[in-house]
């Protein structure tokens, strides 16, 4: 049943959002303005693009690196969480899917910083993972490689965000009408086909939300690049921290923040546009 609204109700609705909106407005947007302002002005208050230029000049590689890392992570994340969610929904073996349903949620409860901390000692060249491989005879101590660096960052992001995105995606899959899947099997479609042709097209919006929220989260995490990342290039958050801590240079840091926000907003916009298009079609 669709809702009906009178002007009176609309006013009510705005009033209901007001506290939350005010909270974000006063305690985030307003201070954010200073940051944005600082990104595009000199100390004297004149408008300038110098900071943005400098950010690009020094950190374009890192910006690219960040985007690539985030996109790779998000891609892996999508594949993995779709796989897990699909197994949970489609697997004919109920006990397996139950186990899986319990398993994937664990990382949800482990904060980012703890994750980074765990991964740092886990992924190192002589970390527990490689040690385990060596002990089990899969590798010789000489063959071990350190996953610290870009691969470690990706692994950590995926490890941590997996629970969140899988939760959303399997939720969307669970909400699909069971009979739609049955109808497809009934016509002879294999489980793979069903996944790609019946399920995925219908959960695109949720997949979008999960990915956007994950990207946003990954772009803003500092502890992971600091603890897992090594050398250069590195993530933009590390550059921002460096810019502030080492040079006391807030302008360029904020310029980097602006760039980072634009990337997030760009990706979110990409999602929203798709989403609105679909809405328009219906």
């Amino acid at each position: 049943m669709r809702q009906t609204t009178s002007p009176n109700q609309l006013k009510n609705h705005l009033w209901l959002i007001a506290p939350a909106a005010l909270m974000v407005g006063i305690f985030f947007l307003y201070p954010l303005c200073f940051s944005l302002y600082s990104a595009i002005t000199l100390d004297s208050g004149e408008f300038t693009l110098a900071h943005l230029n400098k950010a690009f000049e020094l950190y374009s590689k890192d910006i690219l690196f960040t985007i690539i890392i985030v996109l790779i992570s998000v891609a892996i994340l999508a594949v993995l969480s779709i796989t897990i969610a699909a197994l949970i929904t489609l697997s004919p073996f109920r006990s397996l899917s139950k186990t899986l349903g319990f398993l994937y949620r664990l990382p949800l409860f482990i904060p980012f910083i703890v994750t980074a901390q765990m991964m740092r000692t886990f992924l190192a060249k002589n970390g527990l993972m490689n040690n385990a491989f060596v002990a089990s005879g899969l590798l010789t101590p000489m063959d071990t490689v350190s996953f610290l660096g870009w691969s470690g960052i990706i692994i950590t992001f995926v490890w941590k965000q997996l629970a969140f995105s899988t939760l959303l995606i399997s939720g969307a899959m669970a909400a699909l009408d069971d009979s739609q899947i049955r109808a497809a099997r009934n016509l002879g479609a294999s489980r793979f086909r069903i996944l790609f042709q019946i399920i995925l097209p219908q959960i695109v919006p949720t997949l979008g939300v999960a990915m956007v929220l994950s990207i946003v989260t990954m772009m803003s995490v500092l502890s992971v690049p600091l603890m897992i990342g090594t050398g250069s290039p590195t993530m933009m958050t590390a550059d921002m921290a460096f810019r502030i801590n080492s040079y006391g240079d807030y302008h360029v840091a904020n310029a980097l923040g602006l760039v980072s926000y634009c990337i997030c907003a760009g990706l979110a916009w990409f999602y929203l546009r798709q989403n609105l298009k679909e809405k328009g079609a219906n």
């Binding site: 049955r182 109808a183 009934n186 016509l187 479609a189």
Partner: protein, 365 residues
């Protein structure tokens, strides 16, 4: 197209056994209606056929293939789902062509077949609509076309009409029947509406609590129910238990010392406004006198509730009668469904009082 043969089928959920020892053969090109009250296991049976509920015991043959251990996608028994289960992200044509696409048919073949089916179900011109833009009746036809597109061995339909409104239901009912005749597919249709079953099916199987109570042609089921349940379910809403120690009732059967369950339809009760005369009527098996309690306009006639002692009997009559009018009801002997009183719950025996006609009926298979 092939015949469908179900042998000693058992199925259920978890520990619960829902279907027990189902035996049913659907001949090639035949349409059988599964009729039964809500929760009796109709959907479960279809699900077992299609592979969505595991078969515990017994076997299912579609054509010559034993399919009960095959996964759902290998069975070639196609279902039309009660809720249609159309895929909202696809167009009408995509929905219909999906099964062929799965079979890796050629693009051109798919298009041709889709066009053919669209013509058959009278949806030409709608192929590029999103299914969400269709009305209920149109969706129903898309669901049907989708199921037919792959020329299934067997088509099963789960209450295909229950979501439609009265007028649309009539027309879709006719369409399905016409298509079935035209294309000759073997099919099993589930319904809880007796009229639907009577009109559409070649034979009817009445299901109750996971067991088949009776199988037969519509006429057999209607006129010669083999159990009280079937009688009641097929609309014999008047039920009296004999003997009744009340002068208002007189039963005119060869032997009536038995404990009997008697069922009859309101339409077979002949109502006359003059009080009971002692002349034993030509073939009135049961004569009841009482007075009008309520009279309700029913379209082409009135349904009169007649109060007879503790019983209220429904009878059809062609005119309205004021309350309290004394009336007599005469029910012809062959309109009475008489059963030996059920002593054990599961075992009804139709008495041999009622003419030999009833002997004709026996469970097929």
């Amino acid at each position: 197209m092939a015949h469908l043969h179900i042998k000693n089928l058992q199925a259920g959920y978890g520990k619960k056994l829902i279907l027990d020892n189902i035996n049913l053969t659907v001949e090639q090109g035949e349409m059988i209606a599964l009729l039964g009250p809500s929760g009796c296991g109709k959907t479960t049976l279809l699900n077992a056929l299609c592979g969505f509920v595991p078969v515990r015991h017994g076997e299912i043959f579609a054509g010559n293939r034993a399919v009960s251990q095959l996964p759902a996608e290998k069975r070639n028994i196609t279902m039309v789902f009660q809720s249609y289960a159309l895929w909202p992200h696809m167009t009408v044509a995509q929905n219909i062509g999906y099964g062929l696409k799965v079979q890796k048919a050629k693009r051109a073949d798919i298009d041709a077949r889709v066009a053919e089916l669209l013509r058959i179900v009278k949806l030409d011109g709608l192929e590029h609509e999103k299914v969400t833009a269709l009305s209920g009746g149109q969706r129903q036809r898309v669901a049907l076309a989708r199921a037919l597109a792959i020329r299934p061995d067997v088509l099963v339909l789960d209450e295909p009409l229950s979501n439609l409104d009265a007028k649309v239901r009539l027309s879709v009912r006719h369409e399905i029947k016409a298509l079935q005749k035209q294309l000759g597919f073997t099919s099993l249709i589930v319904t809880h509406d007796q009229e639907e079953a009577l009109v559409m099916a070649d034979r009817i199987a009445v299901l109750n609590q996971g067991k088949i109570e009776q199988i037969g042609t519509p006429e057999e089921i209607y006129h010669h129910p083999s159990t009280p349940f079937v009688a009641d379910f097929m609309g014999a809403e008047n039920h009296i238990e004999w003997p009744i120690h009340d002068d208002a009732f007189s039963l005119n059967l060869s032997n009536h010392d038995d404990q009997l369950d008697i069922y009859f339809r309101s339409e077979s009760a002949v109502l006359s406004a003059q009080p009971k005369s002692e002349s034993t009527d030509f073939n009135a098996g049961l004569i009841i006198s009482g007075h009008v309690e309520q009279s309700v306009f029913f379209g082409n006639n009135y349904q009169i509730s007649v109060r007879c002692g503790k019983h209220t009997i429904q009878a059809d009559h062609n005119q309205n009668l004021p309350e309290h009018t004394p009336v007599t009801l005469r029910i012809p002997i062959d309109a009475l469904h008489v059963f030996a009183k059920k002593e054990k719950h599961s075992d009804h025996q139709k008495t041999n009082i009622v003419s030999a006609k009833s002997m004709r009926m026996n469970h097929v298979c």
